[in-house]
């Protein structure tokens, strides 16, 4: 077997975009993986092959192409089930991404089960997609939205959860398994255990976790789980909502249309079996097939290896960044508690200006609120710069970043 090190050294060649140069002929250094990841040839080829050889609408037709496309589409459901240890493939619903997944829950479960005075609990480090749907829902239902606070170490204050649970009004606790700003890995086991004891459902936003560490949904024991394909080597436009069958069976349809029905009459209709009841209309077939190829690619590397690689990069990066004068890193320094996402601010230089100058050196980092304005308020900053790693990143990429930050220091006379 290949050593892990050479495994990661070799895979850069699978990603055509990484051969690109940008701006003044600078080699691309892509460090915005928390936002979206690049795609290996294996994924691009799967999509191309689908369109060149198998394209047809799925589920309904008798002819050869339809048989092939249906098989390819459903094969991804099986791959996801295996990848995340989901026992029942009918619990897996294909959606556009994490955002649609959570909104589906808010509409199909929330509007049915949340009433006046009920409480939904989320956290201060959530992405807007795990906040705004609950604001809309609780406003409509005269329910309340509450937040688990984030401490100075970037971790959740679980006593807040306990206090809310004790009140007996909580119906759902929705949290991300990994923060997209601080990189904090949430103590999900603990939260879910306490929620279960209180008979409260849990929704896990796995957008940042699934791409970067091994996830076992069966063991996790939550009720809803959401993630996006494009953050795990897959194409844009596809993601997954998983819902425990006993909960899924209590949910009303989200969108109405083809494929989700059993019988349509003029004034009433009945619904298709799970999961199709929640997959209305022609789905994003080609990209579901592409997501299957992404899962294959990651499974072949092994998620524990992915995690190990990123831990190594993160340790190296934190070490190097800590030495840059005036640079402040947010969140915990304990590598075992965080993923490969590093948010920082650099003296009085605004993150946009940092991003612009390092972009001139070919480096893609994100600046801004990272769709986490509630957390920005908590950190009392307008924005941060963020570097986030993936399997194809190397220590050399981090060295290039450090050099570019020195340029920032020079320009801003720090």
């Amino acid at each position: 077997m290949q050593s892990t090190k050479s495994l990661f050294e070799n895979l850069k060649k699978d990603f055509p975009i990484l051969k690109r140069t940008v701006r003044d002929n600078k080699p691309l250094v892509y460090l915005d993986n928390a936002s979206t990841t690049q795609k290996p040839n294996q994924v691009i080829d799967a999509i191309t092959d689908y369109y060149q050889n198998h394209n047809a609408n799925i589920h309904r037709a008798v002819y050869a192409l339809a048989e092939e496309s249906t098989k390819a589409y459903e094969a991804t459901r099986d791959k996801i089930a295996e990848f995340l240890n989901i026992k029942d493939r009918q619990e897996i619903i294909f959606v556009r991404g994490t955002t649609e997944a959570i909104n589906l829950v808010a509409y199909s479960w929330g509007r049915q089960h949340i009433g006046k005075g009920d409480i939904i609990v989320t956290t201060e480090y959530e992405h807007h997609s795990n906040i705004v749907p609950w604001q809309l829902l609780t406003q409509e239902k005269q329910a309340r939205l509450e937040y688990i606070r984030v401490d100075d170490n970037g971790e959740l204050v679980l006593d807040d959860l306990r206090e809310y649970l004790a009140g007996g009004k909580v119906r759902l606790v929705a949290f991300s398994l990994m923060s997209n700003v601080l990189g904090t890995i949430t103590n999900a086991a603990q939260i879910i255990k306490e929620c279960k004891a209180a008979g409260v459902l849990t929704l896990v936003d796995g957008a940042q976790a699934v791409p970067h560490m091994s996830v076992d949904i069966d063991e996790l024991g939550c009720d809803f789980f959401a993630f996006s394909g494009h953050k795990m080597l897959g194409p844009t436009g596809v993601g997954v909502l998983w819902v425990k069958r006993s909960v899924l069976e209590t949910m009303s349809p989200f969108q109405g249309g083809g494929d989700m029905i059993r019988e349509v009459h003029k004034y009433e209709s009945t619904w298709n079996d799970l999961p199709y009841k929640f997959e209305a209309g022609t789905p994003n077939i080609a990209d579901v097939v592409g997501l299957g190829a992404a899962v294959d690619y990651l499974a072949k590397i092994g998620m524990d290896n992915v995690r190990e690689h990123e831990v190594e990069l993160t340790r190296y990066a934190i070490e190097k960044l800590s030495k840059v004068k005036g640079l402040h890193i947010y969140g915990t320094q304990d590598i075992s508690k965080r993923g490969g996402v590093i948010s920082f601010n650099f003296a009085d230089v605004h993150p946009h200006d940092v991003a612009q100058i390092v972009d001139g050196e070919g480096i893609a980092v994100r600046s801004g609120h990272h769709c986490a304005q509630v957390l920005m308020e908590r950190l009392d900053v307008a924005a941060t710069s963020r570097a986030s790693f993936y399997i194809y990143n190397t220590k050399e990429d981090i060295d290039v970043l450090i050099d570019a930050l020195n340029t920032v220091a020079k320009v801003f006379k720090l």
Binding site: D24, H350, H352, D353, G368, H369, A382
Partner: protein
């Protein structure tokens, strides 16, 4: 150094650290707030208006060096102008002043946020003081088409 770093010449760095016309006007005649949904930059502009003339203008908020420098330049240009003169201020008046004509699209929004806020403030003031309001729609359109 790259061309990206070139944008950050002396004047921009200076303005970003020491913006001019920064602050609030307590007894303003009009104030307006807006933010850039993409990056979170956020600007307020307050103005004193005497008859037809902008006698004082201040801004405050959070933004990058480019946003701060442009806000400084914009308020400096605006002060003392008539309402119609201020309405006629164009993107290029700000960008050329700071050598930012070639900024990429996403940063242009940083550079012009304060101009958008200024225009919105102007339309708000004019709208509130209109004798008949048949122009409000037109004003709104003028404001909306800024970017």
């Amino acid at each position: 150094m790259s061309s990206n770093a070139d944008i950050y010449h002396e004047m921009i760095i200076d303005y970003s650290r020491n913006p001019i016309n920064y602050g609030e006007i307590k007894d303003h005649d009009v104030t307006f707030h807006d933010s850039n949904p993409l990056c979170g930059d956020s600007i307020d502009i307050d103005m004193k208006i005497d008859e037809d003339k902008i006698t004082d203008i201040k801004f405050h908020g959070k933004g990058c060096a480019i946003c701060m420098a442009c806000s400084s330049v914009l308020t400096e240009i605006t002060k003392g102008k008539s309402l119609d003169e201020a309405r006629a201020i164009e993107k290029k008046d700000i960008l050329s002043e700071l050598g930012l004509e070639h900024l990429q699209a996403v940063r242009i929004k940083c550079a012009l946020l304060s101009l958008k806020v200024l225009k919105s403030a102007l339309y708000t003031y004019i709208g509130n003081n209109l004798k008949d309001d048949k122009d409000v729609g037109k004003l709104k359109k003028e404001a909306a088409s800024l970017y």
